[in-house]
Amino acid sequence: MLAASEGGFHKPSIEEFFPGALLFAGTPFEINRIMLIRLVMTVVVAGFFLIAMRRPKLVPRGVQNLGEYALDFVRIHIAEEVMGRDNGRRFLPLLTTFFFLVWACNLAGVIPLFNIAGSAVVGLPLVLSVVTYVVFNYAGIKSQGFGRYLKNQLIPTGVPVYMLPLVMPIELVSTFILRPFTLTVRLLANMMAGHLMLVLFFSATSFLLFEASALFKPVGVLSFAMGFVFTLFELLVQFLQAYIFTMLTAVYIDLAMHEH
């Protein structure tokens, strides 16, 4: 947040999500603050798990314990819970990757100095949703065959033929358009909104405490307290969104592979 350095009340805006380039400006490899944050979080996640599982012991200790706890969360409460043991194991690498990448990037939103989620720009949610889209269609076609997969997705069993022209567009949109769209937008919107709220509270705090008249200082304290509470709330939302994103990925793959 640039509020403190610029002076004046910094009104949160869309521009928060399009900071200036730091490197390779104008190229496809342009790096700005948010891209940098993503890369740092990626290295942190990869590093943490590589260290945690460097020499895994039968009886886990310290950081291995923590790593296993985290991995087990995805394995048991997302993969196996949604898809069952066999398919859960099959798609575990994908789901684990999604969950920790999204969660780490989300977390950057409340990490001091980062202050913005790596997933608050559309690229990451979109790329992950596209991967989900490709994977669930691939899994569906592979397990049922193209024709049967399409039929199962588009034609609800028991609908009379004359209803199909009315019903099929809905199923088409529901399965092949709304799914990836909502997956992307849900994560993106949550992270953007969270960031904007935090910026609002903390820049208001900064303005009220340091620049507005003394009369407003108590309001600034209140604003800071709100910002603090909202930071805690944001922590919850970040975890929840990572969980939902990963869980829905599992659900979509699972739905594609079974006849309904």
Binding site: V82, G158, M163, V167, I170, E171, V173
Partner: protein, 69 residues
């Protein structure tokens, strides 16, 4: 964390998400069609009709798929 799942295959918990998706898609699709018709005819009536129609259809699909067991 300690409870391992015993099931080897899916239980179909995902149906709930599919249901929600369908309920949303109904109004979106038919509302969209209504909007296009309005746009083409310079009218204002087909968007709400489409929305309502799609809403009902969404429920119909959910009913057909789940309501009758």
């Amino acid at each position: 964390m300690s409870d391992e799942t015993d099931k080897t295959t899916s239980t179909g918990d995902g149906d709930v998400w599919r249901l929600i998706s369908t309920l949303v898609a109904g109004p979106v699709v038919w509302g969209g069609i209504g909007y296009l018709v309005d746009w083409a005819n310079d009218s204002r009536i087909f968007l709400p009709i489409g929305l309502g129609f799609g809403f009902v259809l969404g429920f119909y699909i959910v009913y057909v798929r789940h309501g009758r067991g």
